[in-house]
């Protein structure tokens, strides 16, 4: 049975983006409305995925399979489970907001800017929907070109350095993954992820493959110590680029661990789980300290992203250790759910934070914290929203930031209380750097004339930030729809972790 829904969601923005790029530079408004229409249409097209998905099964659904390249057995094979659907919905939702956010802040070559975002959207959805390893890789790498252009053309003063670093770093990581995939293909004669997961592999081979995958995904997440491209890319990227980068592209790394590392190399993942756990904890704590001393708002949020993404990798690999070492499936399930909820929640929060910085950057043209102070006096509405996002970033109960981190900490306690203590430390650090940022930027007396002349957010910005705020609150207070959507899929993955493949 072939469904065409996933293809529609992937190709609508890509084809739409191509059309937008043809609109021409002169007709900026046409380009804006057209791309907004395409983004909304994509969002609407992704709704049937949410409603039509049978969450109780937890299997891949909306399957679509065609022969792509018969000679090497590559298929155009798409399918989604609860996790993919949540991420796809996050993508379509965020892209609409990014396009709204770019309305007044981008004036140069608008059509190309919007086209790049639409094409990027389609490619990212493709990553989440691909069940064929080659197809996955094509989407995974294809994303680099539009992002390279977005940072390089519309970015800040050091954009060329940042975008080259971004591209080469990610290219470097993923090409090792390519070698691993070719190796697997030679033994399975199929690019299907499901077939690769079934292939028995010796412990040594698994270890090599595991580290090849780690190179690809750890850079994407990014994990300490390969995170250094992210602050540069975030600082130089235009607002929309930062939002997409933080909200979605980083999630692809975490998603890759679940789809590749765990099912294909489970034994090596178990053996080297401590490596990833250690890297995650260092990210959570050390990067938290690094965030504390940043003077640039975007850089601070970028480091905070690295720290929060540490929770995702921590949750994933802790649940592996729990299943394998103690047979504690419930705790493992909790850890994995926590990681997934954290991915979605961090998508909304970091997206919202970068969008907020974009809002004041458009007015002040500086991202330095010292140039601000007392923004609450002139922009009360903005201040209220910013404080909400900051609270969510600290992991305050009632916001979505709390749910995922809490679940991961709970799970890690059952593995090792020290790990959990170290992870919980971030709640303090996160509160420290975020609240200090709020104090310096939002509160206090009006720092200078520029701040005194700030205008509060207009209705367009209110719509964008309000949508983010609604999502943050909704999943904080009532995460049930999200966990219900992913529940069976996560159980499915946790069950798979038990399968020992080593021969």
């Amino acid at each position: 049975m072939n469904s065409w829904l996933l293809s529609l969601v992937i190709w609508l923005p890509i084809v739409g983006g191509a059309i937008v790029s043809l609109v021409g530079n002169a007709r900026a408004d046409t380009a804006r409305w057209l791309s907004l229409a395409i983004a909304i249409a994509t969002l609407i097209a992704s709704v049937p995925l949410l409603t039509g998905y049978d969450a109780s099964a937890g299997t891949m659904q909306f399957l679509e399979s065609h022969v792509w390249i018969g000679a090497i057995a590559a298929n155009y094979h798409l399918g989604v489970d609860g996790i993919s659907i949540a991420l796809i919905a996050l993508t379509t939702f965020t892209t609409v907001l990014v396009i709204i956010g770019a309305w007044d802040s981008v004036h140069e070559r608008v059509n190309q800017y919007l086209a790049a975002f639409l094409i990027l959207e389609g490619l990212m959805i493709g990553v989440f929907a691909a069940l064929d390893a080659l197809l996955f890789y094509v989407f995974f790498e294809g994303m680099l070109i539009p992002m390279f252009i977005i940072i390089g053309i519309w970015g800040g003063p050091r954009r060329v350095y940042a975008t080259l670093k971004f591209f080469l770093y990610t290219f470097f990581g993923s090409i090792f993954m390519l070698i691993a995939l070719i190796y697997l293909f030679m033994h399975t004669h199929s690019w299907e992820l499901a077939d690769m997961a079934k292939l028995p592999l010796s412990a040594t081979v698994q270890a090599w493959l595991f580290f090849a995958f780690l190179a690809g995904f750890a850079i994407k997440v990014p994990m300490w110590p390969v995170h250094t491209w992210l602050p540069d890319a975030h600082v130089e990227a235009p607002t929309g680029g930062s939002v997409i980068l933080a909200a979605i592209m980083l999630k692809i790394g975490g998603y890759g661990f679940i789809r590749f590392s765990l099912p294909i190399t489970p034994d090596a993942s178990q053996e080297y789980a401590w490596v990833v756990v250690a890297m995650s904890l260092i990210a959570v704590i050390y990067i938290g300290f690094v965030a504390l001393v940043q003077e640039d708002m975007k850089k601070l949020i970028a480091y905070s992203s690295v720290s929060h993404m540490g929770f995702v990798t921590l949750g994933v690999f802790i649940s592996l250790a729990l299943v394998r070492n103690g047979g504690n499936n419930e705790a493992a399930y909790l850890g994995m759910s926590g990681a997934m909820v954290q991915m979605i929640s961090h998508g909304f929060i970091s997206g919202a934070m970068f969008a907020s910085v974009g809002v004041i950057y458009d007015r002040m043209h500086t991202r330095m914290i010292r140039d601000y102070g007392g923004v609450a006096n002139t922009m009360p509405w903005f201040a209220a929203l910013w404080v909400l996002f900051s609270m969510a970033n600290c992991g305050l109960p009632g916001t979505s930031g709390f749910v995922g981190e809490f679940m991961v900490i709970l799970a890690s306690f059952q593995m090792n209380p020290w790990v959990s203590a170290a992870a919980a430390f971030t709640l303090i650090l996160g509160a420290a750097y975020t609240l200090w940022l709020v104090k310096r930027v939002i509160f206090g007396a009006v720092a200078n004339d520029h701040v005194a002349h700030l205008k509060d957010i207009n209705s367009r910005e209110a719509l964008m930030l309000g949508a983010f705020a609604a999502a943050v609150l909704l999943f904080g207070i009532w995460p049930a729809p999200l966990t219900h959507l992913m529940d069976a899929s996560i159980r499915h993955i946790v069950d798979q972790l038990l399968v020992v493949k080593a021969v």
Binding site: G70, I72, G142, G152, T163, F167
Partner: protein, 485 residues
């Protein structure tokens, strides 16, 4: 050896092209310089007709002229793409040559003769045919490089090319003579049966065979331009008129693959374990030297020259696999590279005007602001050369990487991917210049009036993306040629 009249029919496409070329030679004599368009269209038409003749060819004869000429699917595929790139060269080159007063009949005739040589080379069944085809190809090309005889740079390039090329041909010939000495035959099929180190082969002539093999590999290395035999490539690429560089950079690569395949697989398959190691060393050296030296280039033609060296290193990874699927991967790579190279050089030709060569990377500054479409085409070419999916070049790289890993040469594959990351840097630099830098000259780009050129370049560039998504039929064709599913 009896002469069979049917053999002439087997060579119908070659014969047609030869006849057409001779006819054009005569017709061109009677044309005024202002009527040169006639030569252009006649040359183009004869190439296109030759393609059609090859595609319609249903003759089942496996060889002709007592095995001197091989008539198989591999030759057909290679010939089609050799001719197709030649046709592209004609379309792209016209305006450029007119602007420089180089639009002479000799350009077309020499190119046609070179193409004929390439066709013969890729279908060679005997050492004599290999040499014959090769010399027809390269001698015509030497003259083409020097076609702008008033330019010191061109003359120097032609001289270098000629001296080094002659040396390489000498090496090749020397190696052939040793092989002949060891096996007592010029026929590649018989050589293949005799030239093996296994017992029952020419075991008494092992040293001679080994020496012969080394010289053959050196000669092949020269023609590919792989390190350490790459010295001529940058100077020739830069010195030759861009239209000729385009021909050398695309058509010749396909022909070089054909030659390597006929000699190494067709003749010396029994010595695979020996030439595999040699090719691995050549591949690794080319990948490293090509990619690293390319970083320092400021001239786009020189950059593409070093890029070619690295790309040919990739191609060798397919050859050293030594199985039909490896050869198919290498052939696919040669074709993919040729198609991509035509786009890259086409971009240089597009920007070139009389008195302005547009060959410095700086000349491409801010192209996106001046003309987004052609900047996008160049972006596709660069991304394809760098091997970024979903472009055509990525899949070609995928197949040769797979071939190298298949052959158990994982270390070559690792070197290749590391060097391709280095390579990505300089390809991206070109993209950076086009997209991120402000143009020196902010005026709208003056496009050449030559519409067929612009259309074909657009189609050629878009093909990199389309073939990246739908490369199934092409790889299936390559596989069929090698008798795989």
């Amino acid at each position: 050896m009896p002469f069979n009249i049917h053999d002439i029919a087997v060579l119908l496409p070659e014969n047609f092209l030869l006849g057409a070329t001779c006819a054009i030679l005569l017709i061109d004599l009677f044309l005024k310089p202002s009527q040169r368009a006639v030569t252009h269209w006649l040359s183009l038409a004869s190439v296109v007709v030759t393609i059609v003749l090859i595609l319609l060819d249903t003759d089942a004869a496996p060889t002709a002229f007592n095995g001197m000429f091989i008539h198989d699917g591999i030759a057909a595929v290679l010939k089609v793409f050799i001719l197709a790139t030649t046709a592209t060269v004609f379309v792209y080159a016209r305006g450029y040559l007119q602007d420089r007063g180089l639009h002479v009949g000799e350009f077309y005739l020499l190119t046609l003769f070179a193409t004929l040589g390439a066709m013969l080379l890729v279908a060679a069944g005997s050492l004599v045919t290999v040499y014959l085809g090769l010399e027809l190809l390269t001698l015509s090309t030497y003259a083409l490089v020097a076609i702008n005889r008033d330019s010191a740079l061109s003359s120097e390039a032609a001289m270098k090319y000629f001296v080094l090329g002659a040396l390489a041909s000498g090496m090749l010939l020397y190696g052939m003579s040793m092989i002949y000495g060891a096996t007592g035959t010029l026929d590649l099929k018989q050589i293949q049966a005799a030239a093996t180190f296994a017992s029952g082969g020419a075991e008494n002539h092992q040293a001679l065979l080994a020496f012969g093999l080394v010289f053959l590999v050196v000669g092949i290395g020269f023609k590919f331009g792989v390190a350490p035999f790459h010295m001529w490539i940058p100077d020739v690429y830069q010195g030759a008129p861009t239209a000729v560089t385009l021909f050398i950079g695309s058509t010749l690569k396909i022909a070089a693959f054909g030659m390597a395949y006929r000699l190494l697989e067709g003749g010396l398959a029994g010595m695979l374990s020996h030439w595999r190691e040699m090719l691995a060393v050549l591949a690794v050296a080319s990948l490293a030297i090509g990619n690293i030296v390319a970083i320092a280039q400021t001239n786009l033609k020189r950059l593409l020259a070093y890029s070619t060296i690295a790309q040919m290193g990739f191609l060798l990874m397919g050859l050293l696999n030594g199985t039909p699927s490896g050869y198919a991967a290498a052939m696919f790579y040669a074709i993919a590279y040729a198609i991509t190279a035509t786009v890259a050089f086409g971009g240089i030709l597009l920007l070139a005007r009389s008195g302005f060569e547009a060959e410095e990377i700086e000349d491409f500054k801010g192209l996106n602001r001046r003309n987004p479409w052609y900047a996008f085409i160049m972006l596709l070419a660069m991304a394809s050369l760098a091997g970024v999916p979903p472009l055509f070049g990525f899949f070609a790289k995928l197949l040769v990487l797979k071939a190298a890993i298949d052959a158990g040469m994982l270390w070559v594959a690792i070197v290749a991917i590391i060097s391709s990351i280095i390579g990505a840097f300089y390809y991206l630099r070109v993209v950076k210049v086009m997209y991120f830098d402000a143009p020196n000259d902010t005026s709208e780009l003056m496009l050449p009036k030559d519409l067929p050129f612009r259309w074909l370049l657009s189609v050629n560039g878009a093909a990199l993306l389309v073939l990246g998504l739908f490369w199934g039929p092409l790889i299936a064709w390559c596989y069929r040629a090698f008798g795989l599913s």
